[in-house]
């Protein structure tokens, strides 16, 4: 396949100040504000946030799946090329190299077409691979996601498969065009925990085999921390923290990340009360223009937080959007879990 190889060490995907506005009741409302991050080839990046934080919108912006009327500023680059200006064959190739899997596999498969048709559609229409060849590759990939009777599955309809099985079909389908980046939007949220573990294990294996990069979107901080190399935390349409996953829980940089970790009950220890975050999560268009979006709920909010929106700053190898990040560094974890 003819791929534009980026220079060694260059990021595979790069977002630079991406802002998305959507028409809501006549006026344009921001759903993403100045989102920047990068994914290196083969890297797994987690994207964590509560409802309305803009995490799914980010994936849609990357894959150019935004609803009609959306206004995008900033840049999305994939393999060094500007995604927003791609068209024709380039766009087709881009979509072959970036695959997407979704939370609800049932809604995302056409109910009147068979699994085989669904899996091989892109290969047949875009790469002109003959039907039997495409089917053979589909059966192979089904085997690698743990579905042994692929021939039979190809003849079935989506409603004949369980949710967990269908999600594995989705993963196999996503890999069929040999992508370099996988956008996974809450792919295991609707599954039982044991099925989730299974699906994630499959994904993990295949990813390292194929050195596939992944953007893993989830509301579950522990999950992102467990399976991703780095994690981006979003709040109200903004990136508030980017951190190596293994340090996310021990040394969070942003009060929101720390509070989110503290708010989850633990499976290992019984606490009588949790450290809840007061108030409710803001959506991007509710976020104040001239202040930190988290101010209203932040135990560390000070005057400086209400004066202007803080910039993303580097700290301890990560990024944080907190005006008091330096003075709070090292204190957040300890104090919130007290």
């Amino acid at each position: 396949m003819n791929r534009a190889e980026p220079a060694a060490g260059a990021p595979l995907l790069e977002l630079e100040g991406v802002t998305v506005r959507l028409p809501v009741e006549g006026s344009m409302q921001a759903v993403l504000q100045d989102v920047s991050f990068a994914i290196r080839p083969g890297e797994a990046l987690g994207l964590v946030g509560e409802s309305g934080s803009g995490k799914s919108m980010t994936a849609r912006a990357i894959d150019r799946l935004l609803p009609p009327g959306a206004a995008v500023t900033g840049r999305v680059r994939f393999g060094g090329r500007d995604v927003m200006t791609l068209s024709g064959a380039d766009l087709k190739r881009f979509r072959g190299e970036v695959a997407m899997i979704f939370q609800d596999p049932r809604a995302h498969t056409n109910p009147v077409r068979r699994i085989g048709d669904f899996m091989t559609e892109a290969l047949r229409t875009n790469a002109r691979v003959p039907m039997d060849e495409a089917a053979r590759r589909a059966v192979d990939l089904l085997a690698s996601v743990g579905i042994e009777d692929g021939d039979r599955r190809l003849r079935q309809y989506p409603h004949e498969l369980s949710g967990g099985l269908l999600q594995r079909v989705m993963i196999a389908t996503a890999l069929l065009t040999r992508p370099r980046l996988l956008l996974a939007d809450e792919p295991t949220t609707a599954l039982d925990v044991t099925t989730q573990a299974e699906v994630l294990a499959i994904l993990d294996n295949l990813r390292s085999e194929l050195s596939l990069a992944m953007l893993f979107i989830t509301h579950n901080l522990e999950l992102a921390a467990a399976i991703c190399d780095r994690t981006v935390v979003m709040y109200a349409g903004q990136v508030v923290e980017v951190r190596e996953s293994n340090r996310l829980h021990d040394q969070p940089l942003h009060p929101y990340t720390a509070a989110l970790a503290a708010a989850r009950p633990s499976i290992d220890a019984t606490a009588h009360r949790l450290t809840a975050i007061p108030g409710r999560p803001l959506s991007a268009f509710e976020a104040p223009a001239e202040a930190c979006a988290f101010t209203a709920r932040c135990p560390y909010a000070a005057d400086v937080c209400r004066e202007r929106r803080p910039a993303l700053v580097e700290l301890d190898g990560g990024l944080t959007r907190c005006a008091r990040a330096r003075e709070l560094f090292g204190r957040l974890e300890v104090e919130l879990h007290a």
């Binding site: 997407m100 609800d104 995302h108 056409n110 109910p111 009147v112 559609e121 409603h159 065009t177």
Partner: protein
Amino acid sequence: MGPAESVHLRFFVRRLAMLLVSLLVASFVIFAAIYLAPGNPIAALSGGRSLPPDSLHVLEARYHLDQPFIVQYWYWLSNAFHGNLGISITLRENVSDLIASRISTTAGLVLYSSILIIVIGVGLGILSGFKRGLLDTSTLVITAISASLPAFVAAIVLILVFAVQLQWFPSLGNGVGFIDQVRHLTLPAFALAVSSLAIVARVTRAAIREEARREHVQTAVSRGIPTAELIRRHVLRNAAIPITTISGITVASLIAVAAVVEVVFGLAGLGAYLVQSAQSKDLAVVQGISLLLVTTFVVMNVLVDVLYAVLDPRVSLGSRAQ
């Protein structure tokens, strides 16, 4: 045979059983209604004239009037099954023969209308479903009005414009020869089609919009499937299910409304004959035509169901689209 096929088969068998029960009950209602009709059946049979006693007995025996109700029903039904629907009291002819002589007009009218509904209605719906703008807006407005247009009002307007003013089409009669018959059926077919056509167009448009919004269409977009394929394989294919359904149901219901149009245009069809017989209380004819129309209606509805099951793989598992 795989499990899916056997489920399909079971669906069809069950559907067929329901069809038979419906027909049985419908025929019973048709027969019982006439049986319970006020007035003496002999009087109805004789057309109100008084008969000598032995003629009365002959009539009673011939029509099994001396038998219990349910036995009479059975005789009527089995005769009907063999194509014997009794004798018209006004025309003194076999009802079956009378029906046979008029059936082609009604069938032609309904067929012509159905073609108009499917070609224009579905076509317009698809166009306005995909293209927003002037065409879409005007389709919406025009169909909102024509969906409320009763067939007989549409008929007089069409006659006024196309027969009286423009003189493009004849306003009355059946015509002779194929071309002339088609010409004679054109205005009636449009009159019959106009409100159904509007409804089909609106449902089609809505179905296209709805299917185009589906998440699985987004999946296909994200996989780089070309737009033409996307529309054909996902939007149109899936929208075909509600479109087929509404078209089928609409076409089935034309059978009854055809009567009105036949009367306006003076067509010698079944519907006009039914109305005429109802007015003259020629009950054997009313029974016969009612039975035929109900049967056609029920069978067409079953065909819609079957077509639906064929188009939607989910239906055979009993998860009917709600």
